[in-house]
Symmetry: C4
Subunit: 193 residues, 4 copies
């Protein structure tokens, strides 16, 4: 019994660190996004109106920041929802999670790219690829975890497991479809998100 | 019983991650503030006096840094006080918390803006807007959490709940009033904080 | 009984977050230090020898980095040692801890300053002031916590408490003395650390 | 009994913070890596093809980013595997862990160096030195922890302990060997990883 406790503690411990690393990457990525917002440099004696005009040129960057923050929030919630039903971790699950974090850590880069080249198809496509990759990693995490009885919480019926898998696949599919749409017009892709 | 334990664990787990993400964003935002302090570049052979003069031109930046650190400390304490009485989380609460963190993550940006344009009304107003938005999000979090019996700790009477709501609303109201004051003089607004 | 558990959980919870915020600031500050190490820009066709020469000009920056990492490690260990004996937190303790973190978050700034102006007395003095302030905050934390029976672990005798207070005061005193030494020669101060 | 609980709690608490600091440094270091990816600046009216060409010049940086992310993942997993069997911490173990984190925090710097000077032997050697130092610190952590009965989980037999030590020594040995290989050709060293 005591031995089992020790073992349980170690497993829980493993999951705790996986989540701590993930939360750290998320916290860092969303705060890094803010570094793309630049304080405009005005000549001395500039008025509030001048500042407003300088800032309003940046309003797309600002909307982009909020949009990317919300997107990161969606992934964090998705990650949260998935791992709520996971109770143990193993090496494979940790690597799948690192794969997911790889795409999350790239968010600030692709956001900057989209910010500067939102009228070009390529900027839009690369952003969508990053999002789709993040989403597919999350689906993979769930498919793997739910295939191992030992990794998820007890008493989950097959229907709940299947529903969660489908749900986690929606976001990547939307982003993959948006890549198709971007061939017609980059803006179509952006609106589809 | 075991099932309930499992469920409790999952809920607690959800709250843990919400707090971990929040603490991460705070830790990051306050340390990012320091990036606005620049080490002056002096010509070789400069003396301590030269360095002192160069640094003293930056003393407002330094005061600004300490002020913003303290402001962030006030929000962290407010967030802490609120969540001390929360015991579970759900999707809505997590999103309200993300909304709060959005404004916290923007702190380094608005601090830099205030730092450069503290004599302009707009710099002061935008800083106050960010602070008021952070405060209102915190009030929203408490109003939502306290409206759901399941989310807060047991044995809280209505008076305590109402007092906490009023208390969390004071800061945003001060900042909203300061926006009004800034129409008279930006400095009035700054002193009111 | 259940009520007491609930209350205990809340208190522990408060301490957990204080420590999480502190660990976050430490993790961030030590990693930020690395941003001061610059990869030299060489002309195409440069050899390993050229790179070595370019890097060796930076070796003081590198030693500085390691030194500041170790200093941060000393503070983290001191913070760790102090809080090992703290079991609850309250608003005052959280603010004293934020005061400590303020000086830790400033470490990357003062390290950069020392790096560039280590031959000037002022660079050395300001670095020592930051260190002494961090140390004094830590002493304050312990003096406050140990004065409240409710905040520290049970079964600590007065001698242990006093010894811990003296121990935590050593580092700030060394740094304060080094400020005096710097009036003779900045290098004396650096060696005294 | 209650006293022992208190003592256990303090120890666990110590380990928790060591892991929290480590996870924070890892989360930060992998996200900092992304700052080396630059969004190319194109003239207005540039097409997707221009952007693609500009980005494809950076593809080595991108591969480098993914490679370093994976390397950091390998260390995180190694750190995780080692600490899964550690149940307490003491001052020496914390310092060994800080030594390990020192090399992890340097990863973004050496990655940038390798990125810019991958054709030079020195860039490759320094990267390998950082990796080997990280690996040796991890081996040291395990050798120290497993030598103290009090620090590791119960019921570990000598064979498991020895196997874990050998396993943790493989990575640093590979990197040390690669330093030798780099004297023949820097690319040999890179492929050996």
């Amino acid at each position: 019994m005591a031995e089992e406790d020790e073992s349980n503690k170690r497993h829980r411990h493993g999951l705790d660190r996986t989540l701590a690393l993930s939360d750290g990457v998320f916290a860092f990525a969303v705060t890094l996004l803010v570094l793309d917002l630049f304080v405009p440099t005005l000549s001395p004696g500039a008025s509030s109106t001048d500042l407003w005009q300088a800032l309003s040129k940046e309003y797309i960057s600002f909307l982009n920041y909020i949009f990317s923050f919300l997107i990161a929030g969606v992934w964090w919630n998705g990650h949260h929802r998935g791992f709520e039903r996971v109770r143990n971790s193993n090496s494979t699950l940790r690597w799948l999670n690192l794969l997911f974090l790889l795409w999350i850590a790239l968010l600030p880069f692709f956001t900057k790219l989209l910010d500067q080249y939102s009228t070009l198809q390529l900027g839009v496509v690369l952003y969508a690829v990053d999002q789709a990759a993040a989403g597919l990693s999350l689906t993979l995490i769930w498919l793997y975890a739910s295939s191992k009885h030992r990794l998820i919480v007890k008493n989950l019926d097959k229907r709940t497991i299947g529903f969660a898998a489908v749900r986690s696949a929606i976001a990547p599919i939307v982003f993959l479809v948006s890549i198709g749409l971007s061939f017609i017009d980059p803006n179509f892709a952006i609106y589809s998100w």
